[in-house]
Structures are given as C-alpha cells and as structure tokens.
C-alpha cells in the first residue's frame, strides 16, 4: 500500500539498523513519547534491531493511561444515570476506575456507546433530545481539535442536551516535567509526530535547549522510528542537542494553525492531574467561559469523588520511564488485558498492553 509499504521495507530498515550500530559508542536512553510509537516498537520488535547500549524508554504518551482516576470515576457516575447516553472512544471503556469500569456499567444496562469521532456524539444528541449526551473528551493535542469542533457544532445547533467531560492534556509540559526530574535518565526524546502535526515544532526548541536533550519529531512506521532513533543517537554521539524533524512528510514548523485556532477559541490551558504522574502545571485543557455550558462537570454537579488506586500497579513509574512493565510484580499475573489493574494495560498504546501483547511470552522465556 502506498505511503505504508515504503516505510516498512525490510532492506531500508536493515540499513538504518546498521547505521545505528556503527555510530553508537556510548549507552543511550531514548524515550519515545507516544504510545503509538511504543506499539510499533513492540509490534515489529524493533528493539531486536538495536545495539544493546541503545535502550528505549516508553513515555507517557498514552492518553487513556494518563486520564486521571477521578475523571474515570466521574464518567462512570454520569454514565450510570438513566437519562444519559454516554459516549467515548473505545479504549476508555475498559480503563479501571476505583470500583469498576465503563464496560461493566454498560453490562448493567447503562447506555454507553463507542464512537469514532466526537461529531458522532453531537449527532446522537440531535437524535435523542430527551436524553443528556455526554462525551468523554480525552487525548492530547491530536484529538483536542476534534473535540473543539464538536463543542462548537453543539453551540451552533444550540443543543441543550450535550456536554463533554473534558480531560484533554498537553504533551510538552509532561516532557518538561520528566526531563527536569532528579530521577530522569532520558538522554534523547522521540517526540510524537501526530501531536506536532497539529502543534508544529516551536514548543520543543526551548525544552531541547534547556535540558540539553536532542528532540527528534518522529513518525509511527518502523522506518520512522528507526530513523528517529538514528538521528537522536547521532546527535548524542556528536554532543548536540537540537530539534530535528524526521516526520517532515507531515509535520511543519508551524503545524496546523487552523486547528490551533479552534483549540484556542474553545479551551483554556489549566493545571491537570496525570494518572500515575501527578499534577503538571499548564498541562490540561478545559472549556473556555463562552463554551462552559457544555461542561459536564458543571451540568451534573459532581461532588468530589474519593478515588482508590490499586497499590500494586506501578503504572506511574512505567509512564515516567523509570520502570518497564516487566518490572511490575503484577504484570502478566494479577494484571492482564482481561483484568487490568492500571490503564497502561488497557489501551493498545499503553506500554503494559503492548508488552503483554507482543513480549510477555518472550519476557517469561528470558526470565527462565
């Protein structure tokens, strides 16, 4: 298939692999930010094409994983109401809340629907005027513009029965938090290509400079990731720290200015809790005042819900790249995709799920 096959070509990838072997002289920790990249790394077992001294650390870029427990619990509470049709991206349905998940609520008779686009939730609202339609809006800068479009559409149509539970988060503040941590061991960063498609590259120059870390904006195909790793290692070996664009077929310096404008119109930047990581300054989006009538938290007057996180789950450490999924005592035992203890075991973009899907047996095999 055009635009796919050329980025999955064995001989091209083999050449990049050889180049990485040739230039690597030191130990380097490279963090891929996006869960989609983690998924590709596992799906194609790219680690087997890297020298032992290039270590991949899986970053926090799984929106499902970092959505705070309190939001999940609120979602479950709203979805349980009889007058509500609750809509969400599929991955969110299995994310464990304090007591249960959206899928269990659905099994109990709640109207929980998987949608593929937030615009669909607006259509459902039009078709069901006597119901309250709530959309669980999660994701990074990639999905936020679509949510913004949906809310704007709901306003244009003067819908009175539509709202969103807004949990959108922003990537650069999280990267900055990880790099500034005393526990940081990340030498180079592969930034998330799709986030940069929307936001451009500008946010990364300062971060790269401040923390003396090469940041390579990287795509999602095996070729992209291998090339991104090569660029990052090359910079590290040459003692450079620049922002480089591997994904130039999609990402421009300015990004999608139209999408950025819609986001600015609809959202305000706020501090936000990230599941497993904690509060990150200026890392979240909430509806701006002119759209606040679509805020589910205002409509449903949710009291502060006390949350209970599984003590066994080390997803915080996994999301910060401090531990790998196989370091967790629950991994593959008490915690598996059927019975996830933490969100990274749910989404295909979660590091734990990716490890489970593609590496669990290898890991067990290696341990024996």
């Amino acid at each position: 298939m055009k635009f796919i096959d050329e980025y999955r070509d064995a001989s091209t990838i083999e050449i990049i692999s050889q180049k990485i072997f040739e230039v690597t002289t030191h130990n380097w920790n490279i963090m891929e930010i996006c869960g989609g990249q983690t998924h590709t790394i596992m799906k194609y077992n790219l680690e087997s094409l890297l020298p032992h001294n290039v270590n991949l650390i899986h970053g926090p870029g799984c929106p499902v994983c970092v959505t705070p427990l309190q939001i999940i619990d609120k979602a479950i509470e709203i979805a349980s109401r009889k007058d509500v049709i609750f809509t969400s991206y599929g991955d969110m349905l299995r994310v464990p809340g304090s007591k249960n998940d959206l899928l269990s609520i659905k099994a109990n008779g709640s109207d929980v629907r998987i949608i593929y686009s937030p615009i669909d939730s607006v259509k459902i609202a039009e078709q069901n005027p006597v119901k309250q339609i709530v959309f669980l809006a999660i994701g990074f800068e990639t999905t936020a513009p679509a949510t913004a479009m949906a809310v704007r559409l709901a306003k244009q149509k003067e819908l009175e029965n539509y709202s969103i539970l807004c949990a959108h988060v922003l990537v650069p503040p999280a990267i900055e938090l990880l790099l500034s941590s005393p526990q940081n061991k990340v030498d180079g960063v592969l930034a998330a290509g799709h986030v940069c498609t929307v936001m451009g590259m500008k946010e990364y120059y300062q971060i790269s400079n401040r923390y003396k870390v090469p940041i390579v904006i990287t795509g999602f195909e095996p070729y992209d990731i291998m090339k991104g790793i090569y660029y990052a290692v090359l910079q590290l070996e040459q003692n450079k720290h620049e922002v480089e664009n591997q994904y130039s077929r999609v990402v421009t310096n300015e990004g999608n200015t139209h999408a950025q404008k819609i986001m600015r119109d609809v959202f305000n930047v706020v501090d936000r809790n990230w599941r497993g990581i904690g509060l990150i300054t200026n890392s979240g989006l909430e509806l701006s005042e002119s759209f606040s009538k679509f805020d589910a938290e205002r409509i449903f007057f949710l009291e502060n819900i006390s949350t209970v996180e599984s003590n066994m789950c080390i997803s915080g450490e996994v999301l910060q790249g401090i531990s790998k999924p196989i370091d967790c005592p629950a991994f593959g035992n008490q915690c598996n995709p059927e019975h996830p203890l933490g969100a990274p075991m749910v989404s295909s973009e979660g590091a734990c799920a990716a490890y489970y899907q593609y590496k669990v047996q290898t890991a067990n095999f290696n341990r024996q």
Partner: protein, 352 residues
C-alpha cells in the same frame, strides 16, 4: 526499583478479578471466551466427545463416523455487503463440519425473532438460506420458530446445527500436528470482519470490501481427492487467523512460525485496518481455511486449492517448528520476529 519499594506496593490485595456479569468480550473469541468455555461450561458437561474441543464433535455409529456441530448467529447488521445472517448461518455450520473432515449433509434451523421484525426481511433471510443450502449441497431438514417481545431480542437470531459424514481415512485433530508440517491459508484474510464493521451505522466508512462468507466443502472435497493426509483444518472465524493458530498450538503443544509477507490480504482490507487501528490477523473470516499438513503433501495440495475458484489466493504461510514451546511466532514484514498471541478482550478502535 528496589525490593522495599515493591513490597510497599504489595500491601493492598486486589479483588479476585473475576467478572460478575457476562461482558461482550465473553463472546469475542478471545481469552474471556476461552475462559468461559473451559472454566464454566466444559467442566459441567465434560465427556469424551466434548473434551476434544473441536468445532464439531465426531462420533461413531456402527462403522460410520459422523460430525455434529451447532452455532448461533447474532450478526448485526443482519444484511451486510456480501451476505446476510441467513447465508452466514448455513455456511458457518457447513464449515464447522468441513473442518472436522466431514461431508456436510443435514442442517437444522431455529429462529428467534423479535416482535415487529418485517416479514419482508424475514422472507429475504430464508430465501438466502435456501440459496446457501443449495449452493453448499446440504438440506435443511428440521427447525423451530420462536417470537420474543419487542426489545427482548435484536431483529432476528438464528441457530443452526449440522450433521455430516466423516470421510474414510480422514483423521483431523490438532493432536496430529507434527514438526515440519506446513500451514496453508486458502485466501485473503479479514474480509468478513471489515465488511461488517464498515456497514455499521456508527462508522461512516465506505469500502468496496464484501464478506467472504462461503461454504468450504467444495474446496475440501478437491483436497481429499489428492490426499487424506491432512492433520488439522480450521476456519478462522471469530478472532481471525491469530486466534485459530493459537488454538491449534495450544491443543497440539507445538510452535508455529508464520511469515507476514506470505499472508494474503487485499489492499482495501489493509487500508481499512490501518485507519481503524485493527490488526487483520485478529479479524473474522467466514470462507477461509487453514490447513496443516505434512510438508511432502503441501505443494500438491496448494496446487489443488489454487485451482479452485475459492482458493486462488492461497499461500503457504508458515510451518510447525521443532522448538519446545507452545506459541505462534511471526516473521514480520521487516524481518524481525514477534509473538502472535490470542486476542484479548475486544479489538477496540484506537483513538489517535
């Protein structure tokens, strides 16, 4: 991370992790389905026929061996590109018999119909079943009809059972899988699942992909004309070829390696899977066959299959290794190797 840290995290015991209610994923063909069957259902009914855990039970009367199977069809929407629930209910049961090495003969049908279901649609469904039965050369010889109140069903559910005569000298069982066996796949994968997905209301996604729903008895008859030495056959329906291959290795306690480059798949299906975030290895087929057979027979059988209209795109996709592990490995398109596990839960579309 040090051990002190870990033990601090181990203080709080977690819940048993068992679900109290049936979830959709219990019917998804993955690990939850497998658990439901092996932990709850099979122990209740355990006997020498059931415990073989094949798609069909094989039993003997006098010196004849028969295959017997049953399946329920709840597909939504009931009419989809390339087929409908009626056609599926005939072919699905025919194919379960075929995979036991049997010539399908007779089928029963039971309808559970929701009050308010248009008679016109019902006519279409049964006409389609008649055509399908004629095409597959089976007779529908008994049946039942029930109607439930509006809202207590979803348009129409169909159960069919089937009985067939097992070919002489044919002995199909995962236990026969042997080191060096080749694995033939009869055609392009994932077409049924994607056709269904693309016709669901919530997905505004237009494709020309149609379901591959088809009876496999004609194809298998041709194979048996040249050899009876077939070790395992499976029609990789729910859960796709990944789940079918995993079931085979689990029963046979062997390792299979497949080669991604050799797996037949259309560009349209590949594209749809890219967009929707699906792995085609896990997507349902309704007219494809996996055949595991001795290396010495493989080229001959591949030739026969390729000559059949339903097997034109057939390929040898892998083989059974001499490794002492129970798993399915895949040589990826870029030359690396990875494990192909059973599907877990539902395949949920990714969000970004």
């Amino acid at each position: 991370m040090n051990d002190t840290n870990l033990s601090a995290k181990l203080n709080c015991p977690i819940s048993s992790g068992e679900y109290e209610k049936i979830l959709i994923a219990h019917g998804g063909g993955g690990i939850l389905s497998h658990d439901l069957i092996t932990k709850l259902i099979q122990p209740q009914f355990s006997n020498e026929y059931l415990d073989v855990m094949h798609d069909s039970a094989v039993f003997g009367i006098n010196k004849q061996r028969f295959a017997f199977t049953t399946d329920s069809y709840v597909v939504k929407p009931i009419f989809f590109p390339g087929g409908d629930i009626g056609k599926l209910s005939v072919y699905g049961t025919v194919n379960d018999l075929v995979c036991a090495g049997a010539k399908p003969l007779y089928i029963s049908v039971a309808f559970i119909i929701e009050e308010g279901f248009p008679i016109e649609d019902f006519k279409k469904v049964i006409a389609s079943m008649r055509e399908a039965a004629e095409f597959a050369r089976v007779k529908i010889i008994t049946g039942d009809t029930k109607v439930v109140e509006k809202g207590k069903g979803d348009q129409i559910f169909i159960n069919t059972s089937g009985i067939g005569l097992v070919y002489d000298e044919v002995n199909i069982s995962p236990k026969n899988l042997a080191i060096g066996d080749k694995i033939i796949l009869s055609g392009k994968i994932a077409e049924h699942g994607i056709a269904i997905m693309s016709s669901r209301e919530s997905l505004e996604f237009e494709t020309k992909i149609v379901s591959d729903a088809a009876p496999l008895n004609g194809l298998v008859e041709e194979v048996f004309k040249v050899t009876k030495n077939i070790h395992v056959m499976r029609d990789p329906t729910r859960g796709g070829i990944a789940s079918a291959l995993n079931e085979i290795v689990k029963s046979a306690k062997k390792e299979i390696v497949i080669d991604e480059l050799n797996i037949p798949i259309s560009e349209e299906v590949k594209g749809a899977c890219e967009i929707l975030g699906f792995d085609p290895l896990y997507i349902a087929n309704e007219g494809k066959l996996l055949i595991c057979l001795p290396r010495s027979e493989s080229e001959k059988v591949l030739g026969v299959i390729k000559n059949h209209p339903m097997g034109r795109d057939a390929q040898i996709i892998g083989e059974v290794t001499d490794q002492n592990s129970v798993r399915v490995l895949m040589k990826t398109i870029i030359g690396t190797k990875r494990i192909i596990d059973m599907i877990s839960g539902e395949q949920l579309p990714r969000i970004c």
